[in-house]
């Protein structure tokens, strides 16, 4: 259990650092690189740099709201059973 928690934490740290490095390179450094450089093959077009985080944020907000709604519904059911 403890090892699993630690490895999950390490994976979260690693993925967040790699996402930050990739996104920084994509948004900040790539406009300075020449248009025909081979590095451009590894990145989507520039408008996806705004589209993907927005979509991820909307998805996160939706799932959080659904989770809160499910928890509230469960809590109300339990309360009505107790009474």
């Amino acid at each position: 259990m403890e090892i699993g928690d630690r490895s999950v934490g390490f994976l979260m740290l690693l993925s967040s650092v790699s996402i930050f490095a990739y996104y920084t390179f994509w948004v900040i450094i790539l406009p300075f690189v020449d248009e025909d450089h081979f590095v451009h093959k590894y990145f989507l077009p520039q408008q996806y740099a705004i589209l993907v985080p927005t979509f991820a944020g909307v998805l996160l907000l939706c799932s959080l709201t659904i989770f809160v709604g499910i928890v509230m519904l469960k809590g109300r059911n339990r309360k009505s059973h107790a009474n």
């Binding site: 403890e2 630690r6 999950v8 934490g9 979260m12 740290l13 690693l14 967040s16 996104y23």
Partner: protein, 91 residues
């Protein structure tokens, strides 16, 4: 109340810097970078949050010996209370 004003001042300063970067006459940074900076800051905040949670999970201190001792003490206390006729059932 003071903290609120400090945060407001910080937000206004950041906004002013961003708007000054938007002025076309003196391009310090390319325009596509300046336009992407707000969402970049959001992504950076999300990455910081994820990294903070992951690091906290990684270095979270556990003490298994103390957990065993605590369980033993709980069992001892329950036995003692039951011997003295005190009801400690869950409901």
């Amino acid at each position: 109340m003071k903290q609120v004003w400090r945060l407001c001042t910080l937000g206004i300063v950041v906004l002013a810097v961003w708007i000054s970067l938007l002025i076309k006459e003196f391009p310090i940074l390319p325009r596509e970078i300046v336009l992407a900076l707000p969402i970049y800051s959001v992504v950076a905040l999300a990455c910081y949050g994820l990294a903070a949670v992951g690091y906290g999970l990684m270095v979270f201190p556990t003490c298994p010996q103390e957990a065993i001792m605590l369980q033993e003490e709980i069992a001892e206390a329950k036995e003692f209370l039951q011997k003295n006729g005190i009801d400690i059932s869950n409901n």
